[in-house]
Each structure stands twice: as structure tokens, then as C-alpha cells.
Amino acid sequence: MNELECRQVVEQVTAYLERALTPAEEQAFVDHLADCDGCDRYLDQIRRTAQALEALPADALTAESRAALLETFRTRPS
């Protein structure tokens, strides 16, 4: 028996991905998804959002500031 509405499902996606739903809630969520392309797509887009953030470039230190920091570390007084 699937009584979840889409507007509830979209508020549960993170709890679902975090495995924070109760077994009964999770079952209802998964059942809804099986029948609902819109929510299935929404969940997928939340995943893609997280993946896009993961792909943001993380600039390393420049060689200069790395060397300067190591120098400061080396020479700091005890």
C-alpha cells in the first residue's frame, strides 16, 4: 500500500540516501519511486548535485606558499 505523495518524497530523499528512514518508511519510499518517474528523477538529480559538488576543483597550495609554510614550520620557536 503506497500512500506517499510526491511532495513528501522530495523531502525524504536525503534521509533515504543517509539510510536514516525506518524500514517501513524506506519500503514506502522505494515503492513510490518504482511507480513515479518524477520522484525517481528527482532523487537521481539530488545524487547528481552531490556528484557535481564532488567534482569541483580543489586548488592545491602554490609551490611558493607551500614552501613558505614549511619554512615557517621548520623555524618556529619551540
Binding site: 511532495r7 518524477g38 539530488i46 552531490a50 557535481a52 614549511l70
Partner: protein
């Protein structure tokens, strides 16, 4: 990536002025620190300076580190404080106690996208979310990258920290809770609201792109 030594070993080596230990954390964490700092300040240069300043404070303070949190959490706390000060100075952000995190009960998806009582399927989509173009393999386009940075910068601070650390840096939930001093449930709400917000920005971008 190899695991770092456990905190107790790492901290001991840092206090013993072991340069290789310092190089290890420097190389491992600076990238992620830069990425988080970037969401507070207006330029890459400014973010780089925040990272630099943070490491100087770490060098200064490591002998007094008491291990009440993980080393990484301690360093990130310095980072966020440093970044916040600079963000305020650059008028990039308002001090966070003046900003309300949006209420956790508010819907994260525009209610108008769902049918109301009296419509054929109350609570269900009027129209399913539009399909997004296939993911670009690995590398983000410049536009998407800028859109994501702008979206992060727009988020209330705690949402921004949670989504940056969880999704961009891959931190476990527990460590984010520790950094912010919040419960697991609270962390999840912040992450949820932040993801929904950023998803909305991507949706707007992809649908505009499709119709332009």
C-alpha cells in the same frame, strides 16, 4: 590515497617539529580547505590567503591543541572563522548570527509544482522534473562550476559548511556534527535543504539552456 597516521601520532609528530608530518597534512587538506574558503570570499586569491592564514595559526597553536576534537575538525574550525572574518570584511557575507537558516519545516521544492486538494492527484507532480543533459564525464564545465560556487555562497552558513564538507569533501556525517556542534538529525536537515537549493539552481540552468 594512503591513510594519514592516527591523530595522536600525527599531533605528536607535529609538536616534535616533524616537517614530513606537516607536509602530509598540508598536502592532504589544503585543497579542500581552499574549496570551502572559496565559498566565503570573493576571489581565488582571497581563498588562498585564508588557507595560508589558517596554516600559520595551526603552526602557532599546535602545541596547545588539546585533542578535544579531531585535528582536522580543529583546523577547519580555524579555517571557517578566518574565512568568515574575511568574508565579512569583503562585504561578501553578513555575520551568521544575523542570518536565519530557513525554517526546517518549509518545503524545499516549490509547492506550486504539486497538485492541490481538489486536483486529480493531490500532492503529486503536475509535471515531472525535466530531464537533465547527460553528465559531462568527470570535468565540470566552467559555467556549471561558477554556478555551483555562486549557489554555495548564497546558502546560509551552516548549510554551506554541511554540503561542502559532506558532498564536496566527502566527510562522514559524525565529523560534520562535531565541527558544528549539531545533532545528526539537524545535520541531515541542513544537508537536505542545501542539496535541494543547489539542485534547484542546476535545474534552472539546465532548463534555461535547453530552451535558449
Amino acid at each position: 590515497m594512503d591513510d594519514l597516521p592516527v591523530d595522536s601520532v600525527l599531533v605528536r609528530r607535529l609538536c616534535d617539529r616533524d616537517e614530513s608530518a606537516f607536509a602530509l597534512v598540508l598536502d592532504r587538506w589544503s585543497g579542500g580547505m581552499h574549496r570551502l574558503a572559496r565559498s566565503y570570499v570573493s576571489t581565488e586569491e582571497s581563498a588562498a590567503e585564508v588557507v595560508q592564514e589558517t596554516w600559520l595559526a595551526v603552526i602557532e597553536g599546535i602545541d596547545h591543541f588539546e585533542g578535544r576534537s579531531s585535528l582536522r575538525t580543529w583546523i577547519y574550525r580555524i579555517l571557517t572563522n578566518t574565512a568568515k572574518r574575511r568574508g565579512v570584511r569583503e562585504h561578501r557575507m553578513i555575520p551568521s548570527d544575523e542570518v536565519q537558516d530557513t525554517g526546517s519545516g518549509e518545503p524545499t521544492v516549490d509547492p506550486r509544482r504539486f497538485q492541490s486538494a481538489g486536483d486529480p492527484f493531490p500532492g503529486h507532480w503536475w509535471e515531472a522534473p525535466a530531464v537533465w543533459p547527460a553528465p559531462e564525464s568527470g570535468v565540470l564545465g566552467q559555467e556549471v562550476r561558477e554556478l555551483l560556487l555562486a549557489a554555495l555562497a548564497e546558502l546560509p552558513e551552516r548549510q554551506r559548511i554541511v554540503i561542502a564538507l559532506r558532498d564536496a569533501e566527502g566527510w562522514p556525517a559524525e565529523e560534520v556534527c562535531e565541527l558544528l556542534g549539531i545533532t545528526a538529525a539537524n545535520q541531515r536537515v541542513l544537508l537536505h535543504r542545501a542539496r535541494a537549493f543547489v539542485r534547484g539552481k542546476l535545474e534552472k540552468y539546465y532548463t534555461q539552456e535547453a530552451t535558449s
